[in-house]
Amino acid sequence: MEIRNDKGVVKWLLIGICTVFLLVTLVLPLVYVIYTALRDGLGAYFAAVKDQYAVKAILLTIKVVIISVVVNSIFGIFAAWLITRFQFRGKKIISTLIDLPLTISPVIAGLIFVLTFGRQSAIYPFLEKWGIQIIFAVPGVVLATIFVTFPFISREIIPVLTVEGTDEEEAAALMGANGFQIFTQITFPHIKWAFLYGVVLCSARAMGEFGAVSVLSGHLCGRTNTMPLYIELLYQAFDFTGAFALSSILVIMAIIILVLRNIFEYRGKKEMES
């Protein structure tokens, strides 16, 4: 791998610096979370995790993650297709708009949905008439999560499709294949791993979103409290064991996701090489 065998010193110095940096910034907070979660023993840990509101928060979080990943997958694939396969005016604007949620403060993300669907908005009377409650209910939480994870999947697919070029697809189209056939047989195999990687990132971020969801959820215990919100609630109630126990579950979920990510990336690379 190495271009030349760096004499130990430089190589190990650099590795050392990185390891220390990551240990302090990433690993230490994790260790702290798990340490605090287990401080009062396993019994307290499982009691905290099995609490009915905790279970509801976990289920809600999983639900929100699934919905956001599905919506963003559909969007991501179409957006990537649109941006890499066609030339049209306004493409730059669309591409910027897709990336925008990444740079918007989560607080603002929450705020804009409150303004759009809240009581003082112009469309609130209509929502009211149809009995639709968006903000301070599950749909609002889902919307906010979709918003903050909006670009994740398309951003992973777009570079791959750009590099791939359009020759194969054009050929297939000229031979009379329809869009669905082209996509499933030519395009998708190329972007498979990038897509899965995007899904992984998207679910990781969706799981942990706090700022935007906090503005929109109304904090209804057992209803709209996702795990991060419930963790904050426990923390504020001085239930540190509970707060960190639930956090540790999120940490474990995060680690599982990261392991999956590694597998996907590894397989993707292997396939590219073969």
């Binding site: 650099l14 669309i94 403060s105 603002i108 359009t166 904050e232 999120l250 995060a254 990261l258």
Partner: protein, 276 residues
């Protein structure tokens, strides 16, 4: 629109779906932001967004975000380099950890970092001896922002670094160029766009960060009050117009960052943004 006939099907469908979802999730909500801030007269708007305390909060946000992103740029480059160029035990674990800040809820990160860095915390204790306080100061904010910004730079630079052709370097080395020269004259220009892109994304994300910072910041006006907190504060005073005005300014900053980034990218690498 160009007259050239499109060979690949699906333009209408993709365009429709993308626009519909963009509209529902991004454009309409952002428009309502503009509509609400229009309730203020221009004069009031300027007054609100340039109030000394608000200005101070931009300063805190931008300053800490800048420092944190610079740290991340340097460390991110280093980590990417180590991950791409060296083999060592634990490499894949290190590689897998990078996305952790994405996955760990910002609130949890904020709470854990605060506990670690107060005078009695594991890390804070050491620094307290040297008379440095981390939690509840700007240093604390910077620490939190470094945490959330790590993946951006690493993941931007890493793929490009993998592609930089080794033949290049080997040739340069054969001509007797020193290692430092190889890095700065051959490798660095190649990865610069990716580095800048990662830096700007980390920077943009840091300016807006709320969840982790609010626990560690101390929130003292003029000192450790960040811009997103100002929005929250205005909201809690039922002052929608001011809150949306400040939000609009931050949105503008976000746009600006993206725009500058896009500009840089379009001059150099076209891979990252996908824009031709």
């Amino acid at each position: 629109m160009k007259k050239k006939k499109r060979v690949i099907p699906g333009f209408g469908l993709s365009f429709g779906i993308v626009m519909a979802m963009l509209g529902l999730i991004v454009i309409i909500p952002l428009c309502s932001l503009v509509v609400f801030s229009l309730k203020l007269s221009f004069h009031d708007f300027i007054e609100t967004v340039t109030a000394p305390r608000v200005l101070a909060s931009y300063k805190v946000s931008i300053l800490t975000a800048l420092i944190a992103s610079l740290i991340n740029a340097v460390m991110g480059l280093l980590i990417a380099w180590v991950l791409v160029r060296y083999n060592f035990p634990g490499k894949r674990i290190m590689d897998g950890m990078i996305e952790l800040p994405f996955a760990l809820p910002t609130a949890v990160a904020g709470i854990a970092l605060t506990h670690l860095t107060t005078q009695d915390g594991w890390v804070g204790k050491i620094f307290a001896k040297a008379g440095i306080q981390i939690a509840y100061t700007r240093i604390g904010i910077t620490v939190a922002l470094v945490f959330i910004g790590i993946p951006f730079v690493v993941r931007s630079v890493q793929p490009v670094l993998e592609k930089v052709e080794k033949e290049y370097e080997e040739a340069a080395a054969m001509f007797g160029a020193s290692r430092a020269r190889i890095f700065f004259e051959v490798i660095f220009p190649e990865i610069r766009p990716a580095l800048i892109s990662g830096f700007t994304m980390a920077f943009a994300r840091s300016i807006g960060e709320y969840g982790s910072v609010v626990f560690i910041a101390g929130n003292t006006p003029y000192k450790t009050e960040i811009a997103p907190l100002m929005i929250m504060a205005k909201l809690q005073e039922f002052d929608y117009a001011s809150a949306t005005s400040i939000a609009l300014v931050m949105l503008f900053i976000a746009f600006l960052i993206l725009f500058v980034n896009a500009l840089i990218q379009s001059y150099t690498s076209k891979i990252v943004s996908g824009i031709e």
